[in-house]
């Protein structure tokens, strides 16, 4: 047998004593991992079905994604300082798929506008309604209505605030983007667009309409 080269410093047994802190944050002290990897509702970060049940139920078999990826979808970068895989890149992908799909969707409706190019009405682009379809508010509410955001791993300085002010709205909207992104990664763009069309768009259109109705009343 050939003797394997092992650096000297690795041969020494490696030992250190460290205090792991529980409770409120004190600067300089390392937090206990059990506490770091638990979200504010007391749910432990684990790759188990119960954590991703809401995502899996919503997706059905047609759009099924890997359980590990589903866990990544519900993890926000604020959780445990980003040490676990989080959904930043999925959001980047999903928001762009959604925006592109919506642009294609709203311009492809039947129109009588004589300025339409090749029967595609571009005057709808940039209008508040079409912009809000992929807006944070609509998607955040969508996530709440569909209970997608029941289990999320994220952190904020104040979980007691309202849905909007605590930042939960934004994180929930990101979750929807991430979900679309994850489907795009797993199944490709055609399936991701089908998913938006079947599962997301009808609800989101209704929600956005309600938002504009209530906006009108205030004014």
């Amino acid at each position: 047998m050939m003797k394997q080269f092992i650096p000297r410093n690795l041969l020494k047994s490696f030992q250190r004593n460290i205090y792991l802190h529980r409770g409120s944050r004190i600067s300089g002290l390392k937090k206990h991992p059990e506490e770091v990897f638990t979200n504010y509702k007391g749910i432990k970060y684990e790759d188990i079905d119960s954590n991703t049940q809401y995502i899996n139920e919503f997706l059905t078999d047609k759009f099924k994604i890997d359980n590990k990826l589903a866990l990544q979808v519900i993890t926000h970068k604020s959780f445990a300082n980003g040490i676990k895989p989080h959904n930043e890149k999925l959001v980047a992908m999903g928001s762009r798929v959604l925006n592109l799909f919506l642009v294609k969707h709203v311009t492809s409706q039947q129109t009588t506008n004589e300025l339409a190019i090749n029967n595609q009405n571009l005057d709808i682009l940039g209008q508040p309604f079409s912009r809000e379809l992929s807006g944070r508010l609509s998607l955040g509410i969508f996530a709440k209505v569909e209970k997608l955001n029941t289990i999320m791993f994220w952190n904020t300085y104040e979980h007691g605030l309202s849905f909007e002010n605590s930042g939960e709205l934004k994180v929930s909207a990101n979750l929807v983007y991430a979900l679309i992104g994850a489907i795009n990664f797993t199944h490709g763009k055609t399936v991701a667009e089908e998913f938006i069309k079947e599962k997301v768009l009808p609800q989101v259109e209704d929600i956005t309409k309600k938002i504009f109705d209530s906006e009108g009343k205030v004014e």
Partner: protein, 365 residues
């Protein structure tokens, strides 16, 4: 359809009171631009929207007689289906002449570009940190890059006023093949060398001592609009091909886009994220000798018996830092390949199969 749960979420724009503190509503719903004088039947009847500010389009027969348009059309190898009038509209940024401008085409093109550039980067460089990822997108489709693209397509800007055109007896159709972004009053402005007067748009874009000139923004917008126009006439596939041919074929040097502030600490955190249990060690591999006139040191970064990176420097500290930065770069700039060694397929390709990796996001340090 009744949406359950919606009633429980407060949607008024008045402030909400929570735990003794008052917060103003932070989310602003998009507002319509009154300039366009938009009319519609129902808010969600997309086909009924109409910007009444614009009254007409350039007739196709007129557009085909503009030599500049024909030349541009042929230079870009656009398919015959692509109408010259759309090309002319893509070059028009003027808002208040009644002639339809490129606002919609620009939005369309921007969305197409953003998707395809992001998809390319997310799949090819899945581990790029978000700040670099955003800057890389900017490098491909930011105003500066698209300005260069527009220039390289030989698009001419329309800088002469109506009076000048009349005096030089210029063919009226030439105008429709030029990039129109200046109002007549701005064209006749007197300029002085070395002094730039910023207009309203330009002064909004000042960052440090840089600003985006309305000329470069106009070029960028025309490039986006031409891509948008390609989608309307020839579909998404040809728009995608066009983006790959003209935008993604350009070179971006990713390795020179990183600025590390605490590389060693970052590397430790990444190793922690990757569950590498063995400690990191930075060790000297070779040196020319401390007494040599120009000493050179080669240092490697190791985790257990695996080498992450290597750096050369003229002092031990320099070589150490270079080694750490090199190992960070080789992590961040990883490109997945498929079994046969080719670049992996992208989600918008036909017969897509997921082979790469999904970026797991950055760590905070």
């Amino acid at each position: 359809m009744m949406i359950k749960g919606l009633t429980s979420i407060k949607l008024s724009s008045t402030s909400t009171r929570c735990i003794g503190r008052t917060f103003a509503r932070s989310y602003q719903v998009a507002q319509p631009d009154p300039f366009f004088k938009t009319e519609y039947d129902e808010i969600d009847n997309y086909g009924s929207y109409k910007n009444t500010r614009f009254t007409h389009k350039l007739p196709e027969t007129t557009a085909q007689q503009s030599p500049l348009l024909v030349a541009l059309h042929s230079r870009l190898n656009l398919p015959n289906k692509y109408e010259h009038s759309t090309l002319s509209q893509a070059l028009n940024l003027i808002k208040n002449e009644g002639l339809a401008n490129n606002f919609g085409l620009n939005t369309l093109g921007k969305n197409l570009l953003t998707y395809y550039v992001s998809e390319y980067l997310l799949m090819r460089y899945p581990r790029l940190p978000i700040p670099v990822f955003n800057e890389a997108i900017n490098a491909y489709m930011g105003v500066d890059s698209l300005y260069e693209v527009g220039k390289s397509w030989g698009i001419e800007a329309d800088v002469t006023s109506k009076l000048d055109k009349h005096l030089s007896q210029e063919n009226e159709l030439l105008k429709y093949g030029r990039l129109r972004f200046l109002e007549d009053s701005e064209k006749s402005k007197i300029t002085e060398d070395g002094i730039v007067e910023l207009n309203e748009y330009e002064s909004r874009t000042i960052q440090g001592n840089k600003f985006i000139s309305s000329e470069s923004e106009a070029y960028a917008s025309s490039v986006r609009s031409i891509i948008g126009g390609l989608y309307t006439h020839c579909g998404e596939e040809s728009a995608k091909k066009f983006i790959y041919d003209h935008i993604l074929s350009r070179k971006v040097e990713f390795e020179s886009m990183f600025q590390f502030s605490k590389p060693t600490r970052e590397l430790t955190r990444i190793c922690e994220k990757l569950n590498l249990t063995e400690p990191i060690s930075v060790r000297l591999i070779a040196e020319t000798g401390r007494l040599s006139s120009h000493a050179i040191y080669v240092t490697g970064v190791f985790v257990g018996n695996q080498k992450l990176g290597e750096g050369v420097g003229s002092s031990i500290n320099e070589s150490k830092t270079r080694a750490v930065v090199n190992s960070l770069l080789s992590y961040y700039l990883y490109t997945p390949i498929d079994e046969s060694g080719n670049p992996i397929k992208l989600p918008s390709d036909v017969n897509y199969k997921f082979e790469g990796i999904v970026g797991e996001g950055d760590v905070a340090i």
